[in-house]
């Protein structure tokens, strides 16, 4: 019971011992005002409706790494699909039924010789249209700068040690392409169905900072 036996004051804390989050009563920033003005103009001039904007926000929020996991799992069980994915990952994902908009996607295959890892040093480019929003650490200055300088050290901090004889290949997502790593299928998972395999494919394994994991 983490909240028993405090010897400090509970003043300002919720009944469960957590600090209350401050209300967002501060003034709007310049860009927040700009966003509201633009949105209201688009609605007033009849280009969009509030419902359409909300539906798009909802669609983006509902995208998750599970979509990418299904793509990877199919590549593991279907060699023809895997070839199509490595040739044009965007088209292959669309053919599976995922609405990824105009995104240009490249799939990077991990082998016993090459380990791929994705970063965006300039900002936070990420295949959001397939995997949803990126993790916070992906956008941090530390991950963005260190991954191109010392990828092995960064990966070791995620618990992933790449053997010295293997090649590490860092992909800096600087322009119009987005990237998904296709991790190698773990031997322990051979023989499982496509649906079962999808549970092994973690978000981080598709960024390249970890390997697929047996579902807990």
């Amino acid at each position: 019971m983490p909240h028993d036996h405090h010897d400090h004051s509970h003043e300002g804390l919720s009944p469960s011992g957590h600090p209350y989050r401050a209300d967002n009563d501060t003034d709007l920033s310049y860009w927040q005002v700009m966003e509201i003005a633009l949105r209201e103009l688009l609605i007033k001039k009849g280009h969009l409706t509030a419902a359409q904007i909300h539906a798009q926000i909802n669609a983006m929020d509902s995208r998750s790494p599970a979509n990418g996991a299904r793509v990877v799992a199919r590549a593991w069980v279907d060699p023809e699909f895997k070839a199509a994915l490595l040739d044009n990952a965007g088209e292959a994902s669309r053919a599976m039924g995922f609405d990824i908009g105009p995104m240009h996607l490249i799939a990077l295959e991990n082998t016993d010789k090459v380990h791929n890892v994705v970063v965006c040093t300039l900002c936070s480019c990420y295949p959001r249209n397939l995997l949803g929003l990126p993790p916070d650490w992906y956008k941090s200055r530390a991950y963005r700068s260190r991954t191109v300088i010392e990828p092995r050290k960064v990966l070791s901090e995620f618990g992933l040690i790449i053997p010295e004889q293997m090649q590490v290949r860092v992909h800096d997502s600087t322009a119009d392409m987005r990237y998904i790593v296709v991790p190698a299928q773990p031997e322990d998972s051979f023989g499982l169905s496509e649906g079962e395999l999808a549970a092994w494919v973690t978000r981080d394994s598709m960024i390249g900072v970890s390997l697929p994991l047996a579902p807990q």
Partner: protein, 85 residues
Amino acid sequence: MKVRVKSHWPPGHIRTPAYLRGKIGQIERRIGLFNNPEGTAYRQPGPQRELVRVRFRMAEIWGARAERGEDEIEVEIYSHWLEPV
């Protein structure tokens, strides 16, 4: 094909990473024509540019400081930033 990233330092919305300017790499694949962000960021129309993926060795970028010189970085560079070696 070997190419060098131009060692130019213009102001503006540049998507050629600074750590690669002046460095030599190998063309990995040509991707096609895309709008040039250096213009579109300021709503300036202009010709599309070919986007090229270039593969660099860590030793070329970081020299003796590289963790492992044979490791690689692949980056998309707009063709007007590349010159033949």
